[in-house]
Symmetry: C2
Subunit: 735 residues, 2 copies
Amino acid sequence: MATSTAPSSSSLTLSQSLSKSLPTISPHPHRISLPTISLSTSSLKCSRRVASRAAAVRASASAVDVEDKTETGLVEKSVNTIRFLAIDAVEKANSGHPGLPMGCAPMGHILYDEIMKYNPKNPYWFNRDRFVLSAGHGCMLQYALLHLAGYDSVKEEDLKSFRQWGSKTPGHPENFETPGIEVTTGPLGQGVANAVGLALAEKHLAARFNKPGSEIVDHYTYVILGDGCQMEGISNEACSLASHWGLGKLIAFYDDNHISIDGDTAIAFTESVDKRFEGLGWHVIWVKNGNTGYDEIRAAIEEAKAVTDKPTLIKVTTTIGFGSPNKANSYSVHGSALGAKEVDATRKNLGWPHEPFHVPEDVKKHWSRHTPEGAALEAEWNAKFAEYEKKYKEEAQELKSLISGELPVGWEKALPTYTPDTPGDSTRNLSQTNLNALAKVLPGLLGGSADLASSNMTLLKMFGDFQKDTPEERNVRFGVREHGMGAICNGIALHCPGLIPYCATFFVFTDYMRAAMRLSALCEAGVIYVMTHDSIGLGEDGPTHQPIEHIASFRAMPNILMLRPADGNETAGAYKVAVLNRKRPSVLALSRQKLPNLPGTSIEGVEKGGYTISDNSSGNKPDVILIGTGSELEIAAKAADELRKSGKTVRVVSFVSWELFDEQSAAYKESVLPAAVSARVSIEAGTTFGWEKIVGSKGKAIGIDHFGASAPADKIYKEFGLTVEAVIAAAKALC
Amino acid sequence: MATSTAPSSSSLTLSQSLSKSLPTISPHPHRISLPTISLSTSSLKCSRRVASRAAAVRASASAVDVEDKTETGLVEKSVNTIRFLAIDAVEKANSGHPGLPMGCAPMGHILYDEIMKYNPKNPYWFNRDRFVLSAGHGCMLQYALLHLAGYDSVKEEDLKSFRQWGSKTPGHPENFETPGIEVTTGPLGQGVANAVGLALAEKHLAARFNKPGSEIVDHYTYVILGDGCQMEGISNEACSLASHWGLGKLIAFYDDNHISIDGDTAIAFTESVDKRFEGLGWHVIWVKNGNTGYDEIRAAIEEAKAVTDKPTLIKVTTTIGFGSPNKANSYSVHGSALGAKEVDATRKNLGWPHEPFHVPEDVKKHWSRHTPEGAALEAEWNAKFAEYEKKYKEEAQELKSLISGELPVGWEKALPTYTPDTPGDSTRNLSQTNLNALAKVLPGLLGGSADLASSNMTLLKMFGDFQKDTPEERNVRFGVREHGMGAICNGIALHCPGLIPYCATFFVFTDYMRAAMRLSALCEAGVIYVMTHDSIGLGEDGPTHQPIEHIASFRAMPNILMLRPADGNETAGAYKVAVLNRKRPSVLALSRQKLPNLPGTSIEGVEKGGYTISDNSSGNKPDVILIGTGSELEIAAKAADELRKSGKTVRVVSFVSWELFDEQSAAYKESVLPAAVSARVSIEAGTTFGWEKIVGSKGKAIGIDHFGASAPADKIYKEFGLTVEAVIAAAKALC
């Protein structure tokens, strides 16, 4: 497989000649002579804890304020530019994290200036290398790099408005704010798991679309993670999968700086990360001098690329806050501005006489080549794609749709429909019917379960397992790793708009992955969360497995759709909504138990969130409105039958998604829940928390405001009072 | 340090003589001759995937239906008793997980019959060894063991009502239902993290209370975890800490059966667990024949006990569903009843002619010694404690209070109080004042933060760090491991009633630990969650760090107290409530920003959940009620001042805990929120979800129903409309 930096195609002439005409630094470490002033590995190793100041002073010898004639000098200058852009932005904001950018500037420089292929003027170019800053608090590193590389999203004024209202440079990297940022990070460990998803997507698409001699999908995924990311369980989950899947084009830089917020990591983190990663099945390299050992970093990347069957962890030992004479190698430089005095001292120490936010001309000139080079890379790829299209028309069309995110015309016709005569089924089974129907028409649908495929009913029957040697398949086996699963799906969703990842576990175990789900919502990743066993209806497994508060907890979360379909049509409707919402994740709460197909349910109804499924009143004024969701809609419908027999006019409303209902017009809402009708009874096998909004202060919400129990489902429903009788009694008390 | 099974004190005569008079199996492996029929390691290793049936048949040769004369035969018989109790109970319930008990019965037998010290007639005896079944779905293993060992909580009828309404044998182990169960497991990975907490508690208390020659605190913590637990990130987090802390008396059995729900673990779990655990700093032993290699298991435990400076992982390779001729070693035996036909086949295969739930007389007789032995162990310890008490009166009294959970008389006098003249402060700082005041009077208070001690303000200034070599200290450094932290605190809380663990992170990162927090609520562990940076008020870190829906999500969770104090008195009140609620966890949402001490706030008010802090009306009929929590109570109070100037009668209510308010009398509630006053305005810097219940359908809830933003806090409050002006406008519109 071709590497990303040494393309051999003849169509590369433009970028090749460009790179020759500019004072570039070769991306190939073996062509570079070692900078004589760089610290030797052993001296750095000895000094890093006790003599960082001395080290910094020695290192600063190479930073001078005239145009650098040497490649090495220019690199050092570029690296210091990055450091000071970070220092200055944090200082101006009086808030932020200067330590990581100061320590990671060398690897950042090498990645963005020498290694990665990207087009700054089109941050969304499909075949770009992906970069994730998992240690998102160090975002000024990435903003500085995007700025130098020529991205329009991070101009000087953006750096100057770091962490300010409305800026493109928020306090943590946010893909929805800043083109050039791939994913949203900050909550630790998420980014590296996102990166696993990005690398999975690349491997999957490459296997599906690449042809001999035409590797149309071919990029690396790079990630920088810190000690904090390493401590989080999510990173272990995702990294275990990364090697299981053989994600050889995933290269992770572990910023091993031995400092976290509470001080030296020795107080809480003394494991051998190297050994753990070897156990996980990664290739591990240690760069002992991450501060000035540019060639060590370059060699490590070259070695990582040579290992194609497993991901590589490059442990890069750095000094947090490198260059700050009094704060380097201490927690004080992690999350606060250096302060004017220390900024001055650092300027002196690193030989940086420039005013804040200054980019020296030679550095600017050096980086300026990325704009034409990036355009050339994209043009070259476009030409390659045109060739590919000629030979493989069908594949090209499919790939195009994945790149654009355009759904195939008429895809929704694949959704199954049902009548009340169709035998009942659990909504988890109905979900599988939908997934399998959709997989035939949606080329980007792929996913799986956290070791519950046969319970969540998520297998796509026409596909095999996505595995190391069968990456073209679409059933992903996540193992019992809910948190990693969610974050990996975020990465898949953000790889390109046409990929539609779904993932599954028991609804109660959303608790394990809630941080990833919140990020789906925040970063606009339209992941489909297939959450089965959605209530006490799962029965004997008991309260540890029975969700109670979960549905309310997602209704309360911004930008996420919580859907609880009641039967076949509603499950199809939920999938229609979920597929259409590419920038908003959907949570589908699905039953373990069998449910009947109810008269009046419809896909269109689901799209409105709440709708009437039956009504024997006229003039929009029933005696009572019964409202149910999911498995309890049947109970509401049965209670309505009884109440009607006793002469009442009753409306039954399915309230499958509160968020969608909220978005309807006032007139529509009034047509479903007329203000004049205060006699309202809701029933849902979950907390009543929040239902006052729907039933009003005069209505009655029937639900469960305590934990569940271990027993057969029917018994629990009865004991907890979730019965037709209870609904009838509540209705009669109100009308 | 003395081991738990070889006491040398002369007061042990009773139990020693008892053990001699009964047909015991020696706990000491070196005294046991190897059973000649046991499979050799190598043959089992070769056969386990392909020939489990043959293996099972061979193993069954030793199970006969007459009284066994040999120790080995009796062990085998006891092990098969355990297997069939599990098989029969699952079969009767037609629901459950027989596979694990069938595979783990040998290690279970050895632990409960030969190794562990406990008193079945007092499951709460303080110095007992703790056992945790992290793979909680296999609970029939533990129920069978408790039954054989003589625990009154699991009688034959309890086994027969497995997974039924109201039984003592629910579908997963629940400490609040079944004495003898230490913690609640089922959600995977939690149990092993709980076990780390139990072992931490033992090490801490031993360091504080043991004296030369008087090791009054001295027990082991054993845990069985499966592949699922291993895959979960939480277990990696907790296990990293376990070795960091040098928990040498934690011994974990990893049931390495290569099967999870979706099939062979090869589809998703191919890392080297051994190597990972070596990387984590554990001592690792591999028992290759967990099915019949009793001596291997015994030797491993002995080796584990000899390693005192680090925890031990004993990887025990077993066959899931061992003995089932057609289902062993397959996922089909994991989570379903075997079915009548296969139960019969298994009975034949293992030579088990007995009717369901039968315990052979010799097995019964053999296990019967644990009742007198357990009583003797406790009596011996009581005598030892009496000696200890004579020598170390003060320590003994303190330890007694930890064992009983009785709080020192007058402890609450240590809580600080404030007046409106006291300079304002952030509630996170006020929280630290409370923690430090309480640490002086509460001997069981200990805890820490997930690497945010200096942000969460959780350090106890008079104590050092709980570390490997300073385990007597009380500041626990969890590293960036929120999920492990929560579950470890559950373990600490459930070790003995007087331990009061607290733990801390940013409120938004409760998303990382929600599964553990839910288990605190379910298993009645009164953990104190110190959650700072509780709103957009944290400012520049932006939406990844700003909680919005979190407060609602905990209000919706059963049996957990969500408290959001507004100032000094309320923070003290929140701590009073949290300390008093030993069977209900508390979540304290605390501000990063400074808040004034408001007139009218009080500890007593907090205890009622909601209360009036100011009112210029009479007759319980103000024009409008303004309701605030936490940092927004100040805004409500300021708005009230303005409204009163314009002639309105205004009540200001602090609504610090909805759960506590719910528990008040109807009369009290009416006195705070009179039904006749529908003009109500609430303000809270979080979602408005749920507030309809408080403000009613005519009221107005001011909040934030979208994600936050990165900018200085004041700016965000203004842009999001959380202002005095907004409250005034809303109030004026209503009255």
